[in-house]
Amino acid sequence: MGRTLAFLTATRGGARLHWTDWASYSYLFVGVFLMFFPVIWLVLSSFKTEADLQRYPPTFLPYQQQTIMLDGHADPLPLFQITDGEHEGKILAQLRRVGLRAQMVDPADPETRLTIDIADRAPVERFTLATENYTDLFGRFNFLLYFWNSTFITVTATLIMLLTNSMAAFALSKYQFRGRTVVLLLVIGTLMIPQTVVLVPLFLIVTELGMFNSLWGVIIPGAATPTGVFLLRQYMLTIPDEILDAARMDKASEWKIYWRIILPLSAPAIAVLAILAIMWRWNDFLWPLIVLTQSENFTLQLALNSFQGELQTQWSSLLAMTVLTLLPIAMVFMFLQKYIATGIASTGGK
């Protein structure tokens, strides 16, 4: 904690702040603002009610109008502060509104109905978190199902991808065989083909294989990525061949060499690829949108999309689910980001 603080308040040295200190800190603050403001705005907005979200001008913090329960009324009545006229200063509850006039009562005297010009009143508001946005996700929408679908796809696809890519990279980096360079160039060459181009053929294949509308239809086609193969291959090239020879002399099978020697030694590169794969899969939208049409198979990204109707968008639920969707990936990134820099640096990749 002390070290974090020391790091955050580090200066160029000397008693007074040097101008470079001012420059760097203002630069950093601008950066932090640019990065974090949208996220903070999203999180705060996700706690706003639908009405609060529609308000113009918008408020930074979520506010809700106060209500009161009165005898004889089934629903809670909204409270207003009277700003002008006969009842100025009082807090009244609105029964109904008719045009520019509203019928209101004093909570202390619920029998007497008063008619107030709506220009003479202001709603009584208080900072309140609309947690129902979140609870609704679990109650009214099947958030957990979408979460499970997304998690299943992400975890399975990442594992399959790491396995296949590392095996391919092992072969391409450590075995001498005719056509090795051609294979590698083919793999890298596929990087030049945009995914949208192969979308239709891929879709046809997936349909032929009966994986349409199944989670596997999302998992399998993305299992081998040229980037992953290339990244791992570059890293594995740095593992000395003598270690493999030593293992061969130690009577290790080729599979065992892969599993016990190559994989552990490639851990930094594999960590990088795992992080990338998790982010790719979790945030993937286009391909799941094409393959998955039934809502029980939706991933979180698709579920988010379905909140946006043609006529109406349910912003409160959309924002809340966005926050929940962001959380796991942010966690993954926070804990593993240090591997990305070291891993990429040591693979000699980009």
């Binding site: 270690i243 020879d245 002399m249 130690d250």
Partner: protein
């Protein structure tokens, strides 16, 4: 039994032939050293014996069984690599156990064997460390331990000492030799250092450009080099070479390039009148003598106290080294006469490089 036979073993990468037909037979329990300058194919040959490298011709037999098509893992050999090649992500204990685990040795037995080897190589206190926390010498011991623990038929060493500093190298040299005496296995050891070869080997194979130049006991190579290359390669400092032509009238006289005449021994060498030959003589066999036939302009003198080296050139510019015990009075710039004892000389055909020794 683990005698090793190489019969016309060849290796080519495409058109380039790197091992050009080698015949060699190493008896069981022998310590054989492959020595040669870098690029002579000695490491390749070792890897071919190990099975890590395929062969393109000939036969390799271990213990009487041709192993050409047997993979490295099943040849029953162990190898110590130049870079040690320890598994960096495993502790020393795991490094030592890995090979035994691969042949399904029971856990308890692995522990016993590893402990025993660790005790023998004095690396017991290192068993829980990782290779990166070890010094060069310790890594070397672990690498040897990894080979020993599997109780192989044959040990292969690929320049194991070249990454160590001079002092440690001498120590480890002794330890490997002691290990050989204790285990009694056949060992093949590759080095480019002829001192290592001379001190450790029962048999030395001198290789050059993929060919076997000579195979024999260290002193045999030293005393009776088969050709110019072996003569120059074995022994430190290098043997001196003086080229000349056998006198047209008298085959007992060698006329040197520098003009001096040398008397040759009457027998032992195949001397042809008029033949161009190279005379070789070791630096410690030459000595300064007023009556000596060869004139030498001294260009450098090294006095080590117990011994001294004199470097100089003959009239034709051939570099000559003199090595004598004790201290010398010869000084820089002196011009001295040097004697060439005829019973210590070697004669080689200048064209083929082969020794003219007849027996």
């Amino acid at each position: 039994m683990a005698a090793i036979e190489l019969r016309d073993v060849r290796k080519a990468y495409g058109q380039a032939e790197v091992i050009k037909g080698i015949d060699l037979s190493i008896a069981h329990g022998e310590f054989c050293v492959f020595v040669g300058p870098s690029g002579c194919g000695k490491s390749t040959l070792l890897r071919m014996i190990s099975g890590l490298e395929g062969i393109t011709g000939g036969q390799i037999a271990i213990g009487g069984e041709v192993v050409n098509d047997i993979p490295a893992a099943d040849r029953g050999l162990a190898m110590v690599f130049q870079s040690y090649a320890l598994y960096p992500h495993m502790t020393v204990r795991q490094n030592l156990s890995f090979g035994l685990e691969n042949i399904q040795t029971p856990r308890a037995e692995i522990a016993i064997k590893v402990d025993e080897v660790a005790r023998m190589l004095q690396i017991e206190q290192l068993l829980d460390r990782r290779p990166k926390d070890l010094s060069g010498g310790q890594r070397q011991r672990v690498a040897i331990g990894r080979a020993v623990v599997r109780e192989p038929r044959v040990f292969l060493f690929d320049e194991p000492l070249s990454n160590l500093d001079a002092e440690l190298r001498v120590d480890m040299r002794g330890e490997i030799a002691a290990l050989h005496r204790r285990l009694g296995n056949t060992m093949i050891y590759v080095t480019h250092d002829q001192v290592e070869a001379m001190t450790m080997a029962d048999k030395i194979a001198v290789l050059r450009l993929g060919k076997l130049e000579q195979f024999g006991a260290p002193l045999e190579l030293y005393n009776r080099p088969a050709n110019l290359f072996v003569a120059g390669f074995i022994g430190s400092p290098k043997m001196n070479f003086l080229s000349g032509q056998i006198d047209a009238e008298d085959r007992m006289i060698l006329r040197l390039e520098s003009g001096e005449a040398l008397a040759l021994p009457h027998q032992g060498f195949a001397q042809r009148v008029g033949a161009k030959v190279t005379l070789g003589i070791r630096p410690n066999h030459m000595e300064a003598a007023v009556t000596g036939p060869v004139k030498l302009a001294v260009s450098a003198v090294e006095q080590l106290g117990g011994e001294s080296y004199v470097y100089g050139q003959t009239a034709s510019g051939t570099a000559i080294t003199l090595h004598s015990p004790g201290q010398t009075r010869i000084g820089l710039g002196d011009v001295i006469q040097v004697a060439v004892p005829t019973d210590k000389i070697h004669l080689f055909d200048s064209e083929t490089g082969l020794s003219l020794r007849m027996d």
